[in-house]
């Protein structure tokens, strides 16, 4: 075994390379933890949404909340998904998913990746080791933006729900919010999965590099 006396070592005896490897492993584990938390959150949000839909059907009657009322006319999608590649980063080539909510043809100001303040109440507390501050800053700035566009968003929501009638029960509106939150969680899951796979690739590369050195 070759002992490298020239490589500077840190106080705990680790080299920079070892620190970097540990950071990659930690990042992978963090992203996996967040991924599993999001999966669990999605499951509970969908359960709540389905029960709220059943509750709305119970309240309004089966003839008003029905699959035959779904709109088959051609109309622009209320929400779309934007897929971009992360550029200028070490792990470039990683896809990034952004939800464009309530962006119909009549509303040119598409609302990119906003989180409503009400959505925060629906999400459980996500643990993000090492990126907590970043996450909090991102959430609070998105909350500010979300309050400013509440009315157009509310109009788009009502428009989307109008297939069941214009005077619908608050339970149906609650179900809509739950499924909206579920959609946002799905996009977060896609992004988190992308991060997780990227971190896994990094760890894998380091491991293979180590094997080659030996």
């Amino acid at each position: 075994m070759v002992v490298d006396h020239e490589t500077p070592r840190l106080e705990n005896g680790q080299t920079d390379k070892e620190v970097e490897e540990n950071a990659n492993v930690l990042q992978f584990m963090d992203s996996m933890d967040a991924y599993l938390t999001l999966i669990h959150s999605l499951s509970s949000t969908l359960r709540r949404g389905w029960l709220e839909l059943a509750s709305a059907r119970h309240s309004m009657g089966a003839s008003r909340v029905n699959t035959v009322l779904l709109d088959h006319t051609s109309h622009p999608a209320a929400t779309s998904l934007l897929v971009t590649q992360d550029e200028g980063k070490v792990d470039s080539g990683k896809p990034h998913f952004t939800l464009c909510k309530w962006a119909s043809s009549s509303n040119e100001n598409s609302l990119l990746g906003e989180k409503q303040s009400s959505q925060d109440k629906l999400h459980p507390q996500l643990r993000h080791r090492g990126s907590t501050e970043l996450y909090e800053e991102k959430t609070s700035s998105e909350n500010k933006a979300s309050r400013e566009v509440d009315d157009p968003v509310q109009k788009e929501r009502s428009k989307s729900l109008s297939m069941f009638g214009t005077l619908v029960s608050p339970k149906l509106r609650a179900a809509q919010l739950s499924f909206e939150a579920a959609l946002e969680t799905l996009v977060e899951i896609a992004n988190m999965r992308s991060e997780m796979l990227c971190a896994f690739d990094q760890v894998n590369m380091k491991l293979e590099g180590r094997k080659d050195e030996k």
């Binding site: 359960r47 509750s55 003839s63 035959v68 779904l70 088959h72 006319t73 297939m163 214009t166 005077l167």
Partner: protein, 351 residues
């Protein structure tokens, strides 16, 4: 002053009153609901219902069952009982029984018109219509482009024709117009039913006035709550309230300007019968309002059976069965979604 129905009611109505009281005895009890609430699967529900009057309607349904199948088959039982009573009834009971189904007729008309607007197939729309609200030319509704055509082509020959006078326009049908049409028709129907019962007089008028007034008031509250945050103006909202009931006219004036559930609560708490309903809810909450109203309705419907020689028992029985079907629907959904902890959120016990 009434009291002489005892001498003449049984001549024409005695047999059917006995029939409907017999049907009432077949309603599910609290013990039945406790068994149903403990079911793990929809097949368990089917097994428990096989021991009730719903048994023959569900026995041939193959697994896996769906919640909509259970509701459809239970509704078929109600329809069979209703048709038996209708074909045995003489005037004015036969007209009274027909009045009970006009609400379903309105729902079916709106379903067909809305589904056609959304380019859905007429056949699949017809399959989803309530059987109590079917009439011969219902499929022709898909042809109409506006309310005038709707009336001229189809509805002029139906019992709903008199209710259209207030909402005939040449405006094309869209979601808002359809909603206003639905509520305007229902308002006209309730008022007409109320006047019919008043004309019948006696115990029927007294009991049905109370039940229909409660229905009108509940509708007013639901319209108010559902229209909060929508484009419906205060004037339009006021026009949808019925012109009778405990809340008419001063309660309606106050409800028309309400902007949130707490303001609705403040209005309703001035009326003692509704104070008890809203006292069950916490501030800002409206989720349990439906259940509270259903519980109050069931109490009033059960009281209708305490008196004899009136037509209110037929109305009460039909509504109690519909409540029972709603209960079964909710229990089935909770079992199917594995959310049994929430089953008591919306089940209203009748006995």
């Amino acid at each position: 002053m009434y009291g002489f129905e005892a001498m003449t009611f049984n001549i024409h109505g005695g047999y059917l009153e006995a029939i409907v009281r017999g049907h009432r005895a077949g309603l599910l009890t609290a013990a039945d609901y406790n068994n149903l609430c403990q079911c793990e699967t929809l097949d368990d529900i089917k097994m428990h219902l096989s021991a009730t009057e719903y048994g023959p309607y569900l026995q041939n349904e193959p697994s896996p069952l769906h919640t909509t199948t259970i509701v459809e088959k239970c509704t078929l039982k109600l329809v069979d009982e209703y048709k038996h009573m209708l074909c045995q009834a003489t005037e004015p009971l036969s007209t009274f029984l027909e009045y009970i189904t006009y609400g379903h007729m309105i729902d079916n008309v709106v379903l067909i018109v809305t589904g056609t607007l959304h380019e859905r197939d007429v056949q699949e729309l017809l399959e989803k219509c309530h059987p109590l609200g079917m009439f011969d030319s219902i499929a022709t509704l898909a042809v109409a482009q506006n309310m005038r055509e709707l009336y001229r082509l189809v509805l002029v020959d139906t019992p709903l024709a008199p209710y259209f006078s207030e909402c005939i326009t040449s405006e094309d049908l869209d979601d808002m117009n359809i909603e206003i049409m639905r509520n305007t028709l229902y308002k006209a129907y309730l008022e007409d039913f109320y006047k019919f019962c008043q004309k019948l007089g006696g115990a029927t008028a007294e009991i049905m006035s109370d039940l229909l007034a409660f229905e009108a008031d509940r509708r007013a509250v639901n319209i108010t709550i559902n229209s909060i945050g929508t484009e419906l103006t205060r004037d339009d909202r006021r026009k949808l309230y019925s012109n009778f009931g405990l809340l008419y006219p001063y309660g309606h004036e106050e409800l028309a300007v309400c902007e949130d559930i707490d303001q609705v609560r403040a209005v309703m708490e001035k009326y003692p019968p509704y104070q008890s309903i809203f006292s069950k809810l916490s501030y800002g909450e409206s989720q349990m309002l439906d259940k509270a109203f259903y519980e109050e309705e069931v109490k009033r419907l059960c009281l209708a059976f305490e008196q004899q020689f009136h037509y209110g028992v037929f109305f009460a029985y039909m509504r109690l069965r519909e409540q029972e079907i709603r209960n079964l629907m909710w229990i089935s959904e909770c079992v199917a979604q594995n959310q049994k902890s929430r089953v008591h959120d919306s089940v209203v016990f009748i006995f």
